[in-house]
Each structure stands twice: as C-alpha cells, then as structure tokens.
Symmetry: C2
Subunit: 292 residues, 2 copies
Amino acid sequence: MFLDPVARLRRFNRAVTRASGALETSFMGRGRPLGAARVLHLVRAEGTDVADIRAQLGLDSGLLSRFLRALEREHLIETKTDPTDRRRSIARLTQAGQAEVAAYLALIHDQSTDVLAKAGARADEVLAAMDLIATVLNRHQVDIRPADPDAPEALACQRAYFDEVVARVPAARPEHFPLPDPHSDSYRPPQGRFLIAWSDELPVACVALRALEDNTAEVKRLWVHASARGQGLSRRMMATIEAEARAMGHQRLRLDTNAALTEAIALYRATGWTDIAPYTTPPADVWMGKAL
Amino acid sequence: MFLDPVARLRRFNRAVTRASGALETSFMGRGRPLGAARVLHLVRAEGTDVADIRAQLGLDSGLLSRFLRALEREHLIETKTDPTDRRRSIARLTQAGQAEVAAYLALIHDQSTDVLAKAGARADEVLAAMDLIATVLNRHQVDIRPADPDAPEALACQRAYFDEVVARVPAARPEHFPLPDPHSDSYRPPQGRFLIAWSDELPVACVALRALEDNTAEVKRLWVHASARGQGLSRRMMATIEAEARAMGHQRLRLDTNAALTEAIALYRATGWTDIAPYTTPPADVWMGKAL
DNA sequence: CGGATTATCTGACTATGGTCAGGTAACATA
DNA sequence: TATGTTACCTGACCATAGTCAGATAATCCG
C-alpha cells in the first residue's frame, strides 16, 4: 500500500537493529565483552559441557577457551575435567558467577519491560506480533517432543485448546472441559502419549493420544498456537501421533470434533480419516476414524 | 500465558538476531566490510553531504574519512568540496558505484522475499506485525512534516482514510469519497495545509486543513495508521494543525465527522471542540467547532 | 583583521572477535 | 600395542570498528 513489502521489512530491520543495539551495549555495561557474556549465560550452576557451549555458539575452540580462562580469572566459573572422558571438560558457575548471571537477567528484564512499556495499551498486540514473527522465522526449527501431560506447558496448551474450542464452537461451554485430572495416566506412556511442538522455547502445538479397548486409540486435544497456523504444523502433529500409535501396536484411530472446526476436519479428511458412528455426546457432532 | 512477556521478547530477539545475522553476512558477501557498505548506501548519485552521512551513522569523522577513501580507491564514489562552504565535502556515486548499490539492493530484495516466502499465506499478517513493532520501537521518532496533497504518500494516506471510514461508518459509501482532485489547491499553502507524520519511511498519519470564509478553517482527513494507534499521535496531529491554523491567522475551526468514529469524537471533545450546527450532508452526522 | 570554530584528514593506538597451526593428553580401535 | 582421532589449550596472527590527538584549511564573528 504505502511501501512495498521489502521496504517495510527493511524498516522493521532498522528499528529492531537499533533497539537490540541498545541491548548489546548493556552487555558491555557490566564491563565484559559480548562474547564472554554470551558464554557465561550458557554455563549452568550444575555444570555444562564445554563442547555443548561451543556447539551452541558456533565458536572456535581456541576462542572459547580464551573466554573460559577470562571468566575463570574473574572467579565466575570453575572448570573440571569430565570424569567419564578426561579429554572433555565441564564448566560450572561459582557463587559469584550465579550472582553475575542474575545481574544480567535483571538487566535484561528491566530493558524488556522498558520496551513493552513503549507499547502501552497495545503490549499484548505487540507480543502477539513478536510471537508471530519469531515463529515464522523459526519455522524450520520446530521440535516435536513427548511431554508429561501434567507439566505446566502441557496444561497451558490444553487450556489454550479449551479456550479456542469454547470461542469457536457455539454449543461448547467451559463446563464441558474440566481441567485435566492431575493423576490420570491416560495420556502418559505406556498407554498414552502427549506431544508438544516447541519453537525455541514457546510451545506452539500439542496433541494427545489415549488407548481404548481393542487395539484402538483416540486422538485428543490437537491444538496449534495462533502464531504457528498456516504452516502445516497440525499435519505434522497428526502424522507424528499416528506414527506413535502405529508403533504402539494400535490398528485403528478415532476422534471426535465439532463441525465448526472446519480446517481441522478438512485436514482429517485430506489425510485418510472417514466419518464413523457417533461414540460421544455434545458438543461433539463429528466422529471420524482411520485404519493404521 | 505460556511464557512471561520477557521470555517472549527474548525469543523474538533471538529469532530476529539470527535472521539479520544472515543478512549482514550478505553484506560481506560482496567483499566489503559492513561499515563501508553502510556508508556506500547513503551516498546518492546526485551527491550527499559527508556531514549528513556522519550524522546518520553516528560515525567518528576519522573513521568515516577512511571509509570514503576506501570507496574512492574502489572507484565507487567521488568526492568534491562543497562550493558553498569549502571546508565541507560532497560524495557522489560513480557509474560503478551506482551499479554496486543496485547489486546490494537486488541482494537485499532477494533475501527479503525469501523471508516473506517463509510466511507463506500469512505474509500480510507478518508485515502488519513488523509495521506494528517498528512503529512502537520508533515511537519517539515520529516526524510531522508538511506534504503536497497530491504526492503519492499523501494520496495513499487519503485512500486509507476513505477505506477506514467506509469500513466503519454504516452510512458511508465509496462514492461519497471521490479521489481528490489533483489540481485542487485547497489543501496546499498558502490557503491550506496537508501534514503527514512519518515513522522512519512509513507515513503513519495525516491531517488536512482548508480555509473557509470569514477567518474560519476546516480540519479534514485526520487518519492514523493501524500500527500507530493508541500512542497519542492523533492528538499530536490535531495540536499541530491547530497551531498551523492559528499561525495562518484563523480564529475558528470546524469539522464534520460521524458518530461511529467514537475515539475521534472523544479526542475532539477532550481538546476543546464543541458541537455546532450542521453544515454538511450525510454521511456526516456530527459537526464540531473550536475557537482558537 | 585576528581569534575562535568548524569540517575533514591523517596517523597512532586499542578492543573485540576471529582464524590457524601446532601441542598435549586422553581415548578408540585395529 | 601402535595408530589415528578427539577435546582442549596456547601463541601468533589478522580484520574490523572504533577512539584520540593533532594538522590544515576554510569560515564565522567581534
């Protein structure tokens, strides 16, 4: 409209580069060059494999070694050789190091709240915009990993799923979706599964599986974060959970859903699911099955 | 919800830093360090004041001088002393320099379309998210400058204003808003004004003023880009245009609007505007005036 | 006119991040 | 056990970006 897309992207880049330039200066603000500060951030109090740090930052081994010596001279970290492989070494934060990391985090926290304060009443919108952009940029680095269904992130995913259904399905009421029973094992191995898709630290999708009688399992709670829609992630989630079900020895899958959730139903139909007889009550009004 | 706001901001920062790290490497891809490339980008074929370049990049004069000498050795620019002030100097792109800049722009264009391709069907949403973030980060650097009402950006602002009114006011029809007459002088000095607010290259707001009889002027076409709302910009636009009207010698202002545009009306009431007798026809249904 | 200021240039210096070629000790394997 | 590989360290070197102190010429101003 006003600017062509490339110009808008460049404007965005300029704005962000300027803003995060200020953030980098803050790293210097604690009297330590950026490189050493980045290494310090990756050292945990329980100890971190030096090789892991090198891999994560993509550093030359010589350079990393120098950063570690510098941090050691400051008494922020200690290194010891790995007892299981005495070529390797393990870095650990000292008390002073933990305090220093905490100071960095406090600094980052302050600067972040400053940025969000700029957004004023629109902070939520700005955060959603940031989620969207980060998810799109990280598009090819979404990891699907099993999770405990009672883990805080898993509960958050399920709550987001319920909210979404309540918002979109006219017949759905919050009371249809009690918070999951914390002691139920139905989504937990060996009889069940709960998968979360992670985009760098943010859970962006979930799906659950639970065993029914007779070599049949049920797919439940397929949900994708607003920022991650339109990129084929729900298809990936379904393919993954179906493969899990197959590996567990199931021969049939089923699920219930609601006609208002049109994209989900379109996805199911496009991947071999067909309508079956009703087996649950409202708000469900569509029931589908698939042979594995 | 899932992550606290600070974690979400950091995730965003990581994603963007990684992505624009790739972009910076591309600058190096043409065999020239980033600093010299940034300087080259600011040199225009018609000539650019060296002092301007220094101010824009915040460079030390010694460093800039070295970058300019390096670019001169590559025959990409030529410098001559400013005839009006022979201490100053002016840099100009050579033919080869223009070609080199074009090559950079093509490179940036390719990389940008790659990024946007990642967004797939959601490219528009991603661009809107980028506009919002850039506008929020640039919040304190919005320049309000007079513009020609027939300039492309001014026309785009007016079109956006019309679209907004048509979308929000039930009684408004596109035919109520013909494209502005390109040869009308009513918004052009000396008798009128057209102001645009710029956030780094993007027009984010406009407002117009035209003289009526009897020391009265009319405020028209107050519009703020979606990404810039909620930050007091419309108030600033009104204050600026009112000051202009006062400086032009007007003693009264008036405007017409529609009851559906509630925030605008609230702003007018909060800044001293009061209801007056109708003076135009639908879709206007609210008329206000203010003594200067 | 004379002194202060300004714009640019030059050379010396520094910090940071990074590469590269060995070196050493530990480990893996034929 | 001999050989090759791996993880880390060290020292030498380099590129980039940046600072700082003059030098020079032009301009401004009282």
